[in-house]
């Protein structure tokens, strides 16, 4: 029975340990969809997977900012100005009972600065899912619960200051949560607008080629050789002062999205050019598919993954742009809260030297930018499932 034909068909071959497993493995790869292959490749990239988790965490914070905050981000009080971050004591009398000490503020008679002294006799226990200020969860469900807080009857914004307070005595942790919401959504909207511009222009450029291509390529080249920040500063400064937060928010989104589309357009064009010559596109055309069908049924799905990767990589630039503009006082303006607006308070080195916690909003900026970069890198590698 052990003729040569046995060996020809791997499915019928006698089980020979690893070789059979390898054949099955190969079979699995052959029938896997493109997205499955991408996922398998992406999964191998540990840092990218971890970054993906961080990004998801960030966007959960965007959704639940009011739940994660424990104090009204705009509740200001001169009596609480520039409080340092408050240490949390985890145990009380040998039992796990997280609490903080009450703080007493007084003005130093010599330097006239406010100094705060902890009072160990007054322990304020921290509660999970405590009652706090009212808000609408996800914008609809009215709620008063927050992830942490203090016992009923106490006001969280007057008693706990996990990351300290700013000059106006507003709680930094809570403001950071709200800032995350604005900074990350502005990045998301900005990148969406860029994506539309980039895909339309890059697609036109790559699909039609010729004069259209040359024209769009030149425009991109010109845009890329201009230093953008002074330009965007100019545009942002020209926004009318009396605009509402929402209007400014959208204007800034548009301004920073004008910055990001060139790179996306470049990627889309490159893909289109590469794909125009691919056999499956040529054959789609030959069997008489309409141009629209060729583009949207055959071409776009096969480079969707590249677009997703490029979009992820474009997000950090958006976040940094918003942060920079707001930091300079040309982007979002208080009472809007964003990472850049929060960092504005850290502009002066003397202030920072005395209250270094004002630089804390830099931490989420850096983590977010890194996470998006790693995630984007991982996605880009995975986007080429047949690559090396």
């Amino acid at each position: 029975m052990a003729g040569p034909d046995v060996a020809v068909d791997p499915a019928r071959a006698p089980v020979r340990g690893p070789s059979f497993v390898a054949a099955a493995e190969e079979q699995r790869v052959f029938v896997a969809s493109q997205w499955q292959l991408m996922w398998w490749r992406f999964r191998k990239h540990k840092v990218a997977v971890a970054s993906g988790g961080v990004v998801i965490g960030f966007y959960l914070a965007v959704l639940g900012a009011d739940f994660l905050a424990y104090a009204d981000p705009n509740a200001s009080e001169a009596q609480r100005s520039l409080m340092p971050p408050q240490p949390v004591h985890w145990f009380d009398g040998g039992k796990f009972r997280p609490h903080v000490y009450a703080l007493k503020g007084a003005r130093d008679p010599q330097t006239f600065k406010r100094v705060y002294r902890a009072d160990p006799s007054q322990k304020i226990p921290l509660r999970l899912l405590a009652e706090g200020f009212e808000y609408r969860f996800l914008g609809v469900i009215p709620m008063t619960r927050h992830v942490i807080g203090v016992a009923a009857g106490l006001d969280a914004s007057k008693t706990i200051f996990l990351l300290g307070t700013d000059v106006q005595g507003r709680d930094l942790w809570s403001r950071l949560m709200y800032g995350t919401r604005i900074s990350l959504t502005i990045g998301l909207f900005g990148v969406t607008a860029s994506l539309v511009l980039g895909v339309v222009l890059g697609g036109l450029s790559g699909f039609y080629g010729g004069i259209t291509d040359t024209l769009i390529q030149r425009v991109i080249e010109i845009l890329r050789s201009i230093p953008t920040i002074p330009l965007w500063m100019g545009l942002a400064a020209a926004l009318p002062r009396d605009w509402s937060i929402l209007q400014v928010y959208f204007a800034i989104t548009i301004i920073i999205s004008l910055l990001g589309w060139t790179e996306l357009a470049r990627v889309v064009r490159g893909r289109f050019l590469a794909m125009r010559e691919e056999d499956f596109v040529v054959s789609a055309r030959l069997v008489g598919c309409s141009q629209m069908r060729t583009i949207f049924v055959h071409m776009v799905p096969s480079f969707m993954s590249h677009i997703i990767a490029a979009t992820t990589l474009a997000l950090p630039a958006m976040i940094i742009s918003e942060t920079s503009l707001s930091f300079l006082g040309l982007g979002l303006r208080p009472p809007a809260i964003s990472w850049g607006v929060l960092l504005q308070q850290a502009q002066n080195v003397q202030t920072v030297a005395i209250s270094p916690w004002l630089m804390l909003p830099a931490v989420p900026v850096i983590i977010a930018v890194m996470a998006f970069n790693f995630l984007g890198d991982g996605l880009r590698d995975a986007a080429d499932p047949y690559g090396r």
Partner: protein, 349 residues
């Protein structure tokens, strides 16, 4: 899982004066995350002076890695883990001094003195085997000056002379051109000129004509034969094309999955093939004097995945002469079956 110690090889006829290169049980492995690729797994063969050894086999059988192992330019993570590469270095007068290239430091002084000067390499891909930003002449002159004590002007004259020898027209002008300004055939000629500029004793030609069209291929092969007659070097010709072998080789080594399965003079290979793989290979190519409507038989199955080499004789899953219990359990070794004819198959043990 592969136990190589039991397989091994039987000693070939002793290394005589005429033997220039003698490879014994060479193993070059690539350690990768997914597993170890045994690209060359116990290769043995000999190259004699002034002769042409053709090495033939399907893609992925380890031909190119063997060539690069001899020159000690295997890319990482590849590493020679076992075996000998005895090479006879020319010395003035006497029969030469034999060194084991496998023991040399890959980038050491002695290896670099041999590489390019005594063993030269030409290979496929005439598009990209020259630097795109340096002139052809620059690269030939560099090779000459590296191994010969000549000045820039003399080296340039030599380079031009060499280009003329390989049949490049108006070499004085071509010498300053970039590779992409030359046609594929011209580029391969320039490549040969560079390889032979230091009069090596061994030329390794790795698929030298695969990327060329048939007419150019014939010209290049004729050129190589002519230069071999003039300079007297030995050629190690790696190809998957049995036609090229028939035209060029004096001896043939047939490789399968990192092993030599048969080595013999060219006539014996074509007229009296012993190994079932060699026979299958010959059946799979058309012959000019074949009967009309004669069927070509492809070799059954496919080359196994390199991570997953079959146990026993590597060819047994595709072998029509498969002997259960023998071929899938033990490894055959190269044994002489006739004068200068060795085969690695249980049919002849």
């Amino acid at each position: 899982m592969d136990d190589n110690s039991e397989g091994g090889f039987a000693p070939l006829p002793t290394v005589d004066r005429q033997t220039l290169l003698s490879v014994r049980n060479l193993k070059t492995y690539f350690a990768q995350d997914e597993g170890t690729v045994k690209a060359v797994d116990g290769v043995s063969f000999d190259v004699s002076r002034r002769r042409t050894l053709g090495i033939v086999g399907e893609s992925g059988c380890g031909k190119s890695v063997t060539a690069r192992s001899i020159l000690r330019i295997v890319d990482r993570p590849g590493r020679i883990i076992d075996g000998e590469i005895q090479f006879r270095r020319p010395t003035n007068g006497a029969g030469g001094r034999v060194v084991d290239l496998a023991k040399l430091e890959p980038n050491g002084r002695e290896m670099r003195a041999i590489r390019g000067a005594e063993i030269a390499l030409i290979f496929q891909e005439p598009m990209s085997s020259f630097s795109p930003v340096h002139s052809v002449g620059n690269q030939i002159i560099e090779a000459i000056r590296l191994h010969q004590p000549v000045g820039r002007q003399d080296a340039r004259a030599k380079a031009i002379e060499m280009l003329r020898r390989v049949g490049v027209s108006s070499p004085e002008a071509r010498v300053d051109q970039l590779a992409h300004q030359l046609s594929g055939g011209l580029r391969q000629r320039a490549m040969i000129a560079m390889a032979l500029s230091c009069k090596p004793t061994l030329l390794i030609a790795d698929e030298p004509t695969t990327a060329l069209d048939v007419t150019t291929q014939t010209q290049i092969l004729a050129l190589m034969r002519q230069l071999q007659q003039e300079d007297g070097m030995a050629i190690m010709l790696i190809t998957h094309d049995l036609g090229v072998i028939a035209e060029m080789a004096t001896d043939v080594a047939v490789m399968y999955l990192g092993r030599v399965v048969e080595q013999a003079p060219v006539d014996a290979i074509f007229h009296d093939p012993k190994h079932p793989y060699t026979r299958a290979l010959l059946r799979s190519i058309p012959r000019i004097r074949a009967r009309t409507r004669e069927r070509l038989t492809p070799i059954a199955g496919a080359v196994p995945h390199p991570y997953d080499r079959p146990r026993g004789c590597p060819f047994h899953p595709r072998c029509p002469e498969f002997m259960a219990g023998r071929c899938d359990q033990q490894e055959p070794s190269l044994r002489p079956v006739a004068e200068q004819h060795t085969v690695s198959c249980f049919l002849y043990e």
